[in-house]
């Protein structure tokens, strides 16, 4: 029996040779070779592209670098949050585009979450009609390309709305026409500024109050009515100030000047179509996420919460929502990013967002590489910042396990 295990001298040397296999049989060395080859291929491809590009740029006499930033842009931008004219630089034009992107993305995200949560909860409603309606809404809007929806709304606004002189006037002071949507705005008054400060102060106070009430409840078990008190402060304080300053009620009503309305608050049909299309499309996805998140919380949780005597409102806010949010937030983040990225479709309907301005810049300067690189960097930056913020929020919400 033993002879089977004790090898001859020849076998031992053979075994030794197997101990030091050739390098293509050694996983560690093979790994190095693989990586060197992969990196080498990527490097060669980049070098090939780089030399081709250099040659092409030289031949077509296209300038390189970001020198065009400080040159005069020479094109007008339809709408802008900061003052801008064609005589300004490319850098300023691009910044205007960036601000326009942020404007539509931020408004869009807020409206999308509100609408999406509403539709998502409606889908779970006990009311059959409402649930069916919400299901139809999500099915319909999810399955139509967002660009088509943008074209649809833009076409609708352009063809169905009348010219400025025959403006559609649904409410007094509100005018819809094919140049834009106009709403009255309160006349400027010094009291509004104070009211804004009061509102901010009340919000801070409410936050402090909540922390204090929670600490006290943890220590003594006494519950302080935080919500009514804070709501009272947040609404009441500015209201008292408004009363005290003589109830300014002047409205800045839009009025026809020449061929256009002036005054009040207004936005263009391009912005309207872009916002409407993005919000409707994305909210359908958000609704699905919200529904799935709520359904992911097991029924036992609701029953357990009810059996310890919580009211229905508290069951939702203390037991269901915190658990549902954990499921909802990661996909919700990617939907927000999708909305921001899809806002780049503005270029198709003529809203001057960052991509549209960058596209004009590419066409005027011919510097395609810099232009496309800028677009990519800006969206990457937005994506990274949003992901970082949402990850931070998600971590705070995450399950703390022992």
């Amino acid at each position: 029996m033993q002879s089977m295990f004790s090898g001859s001298a020849e076998d031992t040397t053979a075994f030794d040779r197997r101990q030091a296999p050739p390098f293509w049989r050694d996983p560690a060395k093979r790994a190095i070779v693989f990586q060197v080859v992969a990196l080498g291929l990527v490097f060669m491809l980049s070098y090939w592209i780089f030399t081709n590009t250099q040659a092409n740029l030289r031949k077509q006499a296209i300038a390189t670098g970001f020198g065009f930033f400080s040159k005069e842009a020479g094109f007008e931008i339809g709408e802008s949050l900061i003052s801008y004219s064609a005589a300004d630089t490319y850098a300023r034009a691009l910044f205007v585009g960036f601000l326009n992107t942020m404007k539509v993305a931020c408004t869009g995200v807020i409206l999308t979450i509100i609408l999406g949560v509403f539709v998502g909860i409606s889908r779970l409603s006990k009311n059959w009609l409402l649930a069916r309606l919400a299901a139809g809404y999500t099915e319909l809007l999810q399955n139509i390309p967002v660009l088509l929806q943008l074209f649809f709304w833009y076409g609708l606004f352009h063809t169905s709305l009348p010219g400025p002189r025959q403006s559609f006037n649904p409410l007094p002071g509100v005018f819809f026409n094919n140049r834009g949507f106009y709403f009255p705005l309160p006349e400027n008054h010094p009291a509004y500024r104070e009211m804004a400060i009061a509102l901010l102060a009340a919000c801070c106070a409410a936050y402090v109050l909540r922390r204090w009430a929670r600490a006290r409840q943890d220590k003594t078990g006494k519950i302080f009515p935080v919500v009514p008190v804070s709501l009272g402060a947040v609404i009441g304080l500015p209201f008292i100030l408004w009363l005290a300053s003589g109830m300014p009620a002047g409205l800045n009503i839009p009025h026809l000047v020449g061929f256009n309305y002036e005054g009040g608050f207004s936005f263009s049909p391009e912005f309207g179509a872009l916002l409407l299309g993005l919000v409707l499309y994305t909210s359908a996805f958000v609704a699905e996420i919200v529904r799935a998140g709520i359904q992911a919380v097991s029924k036992g949780q609701t029953e357990a919460a009810m059996s310890i005597g919580l009211k229905p409102g508290l069951v939702l806010s203390l037991v269901i929502l915190p658990q549902a949010l954990r499921v909802i937030i990661p996909p919700l983040t990617s939907q927000m990013l999708n909305l921001t990225k899809n806002s780049s479709l503005a270029v198709a309907i003529g809203y001057p967002d960052f991509v549209a301005v960058a596209n004009t810049t590419i066409n005027q300067t011919g510097q395609a590489i810099e232009g496309v690189a800028m677009i990519m960097v800006v969206y990457l930056f937005i994506s990274l910042v949003t992901s970082a913020l949402m990850n931070w929020y998600n971590k705070r919400r995450a399950l703390v396990e022992r």
Partner: protein, 363 residues
């Protein structure tokens, strides 16, 4: 004795009250369960009552179906003539008029393939071969140049043919690329892992439109002098690069869901990396991610509409072009509703399929 006597004749079954069964019971339970619900029901019913008849009147009763643009301007309803009169252009674009039976045939063939593949009992390795043969056949029929079929260059493929071409070939090419990227991201080799992570995150962080811009304005600069590739192919490359990153993330999810024991068991059997992945890991991982892969197919199908922006004539662009004809200007609602319904049918069928599959695979 009297107390113990039990009546022996059968009692007639008591029916539930009429308010808790049938239509009334259903309505009470689902529509009027409490005051809030009743109010909501009445509100929605009123809204539907106001909007649905108006819509039907516009879309069907007062609609014009087969007229010219002049008659449409007088009609108070929808002008579906824009669709019926331009149907062949919207669907097939610049594909030679008398050759348009070829895209029709290709689409029918494709639909048959999709229908056949949607049943799980037909899933085997011959199906893959059949798909490769089928797609090649479709490509050949569309391109022509044999058996007396005049050849049609890809530049002329437009409308729905281009939409389908971009999405189907895009996905078939992106899928293997995405799987390789996912494996790379899970690799133990740091350089390869870094390359894959950078690629995936970079692509996922930017909009598809920037990739398409890159394809249309930057790719020509990347190539050596004198070499040009056509615009459709460049857009196709951009779509493949973009979709692959998303597929990679889906596949990575599947790879992560495979228990460690499977990897270890495969290694114990002495399988090398390639065999381990091909025989043990990927078959399980790819099966678990079929439903999310179908969602990617759906979004790839919808996203092909973005090629409008770089000037390719897909289904959306042909609709757009029709609208710029002075005769049909101003009937965008009808035209877009028609195009939307085509996209809707395609996506709806796919998403229902994905849902059915999810139920079947959840054993």
């Amino acid at each position: 004795m009297e107390q113990t006597s039990i009546s022996l004749h059968t009692i007639e079954e008591v029916k539930p009250p009429v308010t808790s069964i049938g239509v009334i019971g259903w309505a009470r339970k689902n529509l009027f369960s409490n005051i809030l619900n009743s109010l909501l029901t009445i509100l929605i019913a009123y809204g539907l009552f106001r909007s649905v008849p108006t819509f039907i009147k516009w879309a069907f009763v007062n609609a014009v179906w087969w007229s010219d643009g002049q008659a449409c301007n007088q009609a108070s309803g929808a002008c579906w003539s824009i669709v019926t009169k331009n149907l062949r252009f919207i669907l097939f674009g610049f594909y030679p008029y008398e050759q348009q039976w070829r895209p029709v045939f290709a689409i029918v063939l494709l639909a048959a393939f999709v229908f056949f593949s949607s049943f799980r009992r037909n899933w085997n390795k011959y199906l893959l071969v059949a798909w490769i043969v089928g797609l090649t056949l479709i490509g050949l029929i569309m391109h022509g140049g044999f058996l007396g079929l005049p050849s049609v260059e890809t530049e002329q493929w437009s409308g729905i043919s281009l939409t389908l071409l971009l999405s189907i070939f895009g996905l078939s090419a992106a899928y293997p690329f995405g799987v390789i990227l996912a494996l790379g991201r899970r690799s133990r080799l740091p350089a390869i892992k870094t390359l894959c992570v950078v690629y995936i995150e970079l692509i996922r962080g930017v909009p598809l439109i920037s990739m398409l811009f890159m394809a249309s304005v930057m790719f020509p600069l990347f190539l050596p002098e004198g070499v040009t590739i056509n615009k459709i192919l460049r857009a196709q490359v951009a779509i493949i690069m973009f979709t692959a990153a998303y597929i990679a993330e889906v596949v990575r999810g599947g790879l992560q869901a495979i228990p460690r024991g499977q990897y270890e068991a495969a290694e114990t059997l002495g399988l090398n990396y390639y065999l381990k992945m091909r025989l043990i890991i990927l078959p399980q991982a790819l099966k678990t991610v079929i439903p999310p892969t179908v969602s990617i197919l759906i979004s790839a199908f919808k996203d092909t509409s973005l090629v409008v922006i770089i000037g390719l004539f897909d289904l959306l662009r042909t609709t757009h072009v029709t609208l710029s004809n002075p005769e049909w200007m101003g009937f965008s609602t009808e035209a877009y509703l028609f195009t939307a319904s085509i996209y809707f049918v395609g996506c709806f069928v796919m998403s229902n399929f994905s849902r059915r599959l999810e139920r079947e695979l959840k054993t």
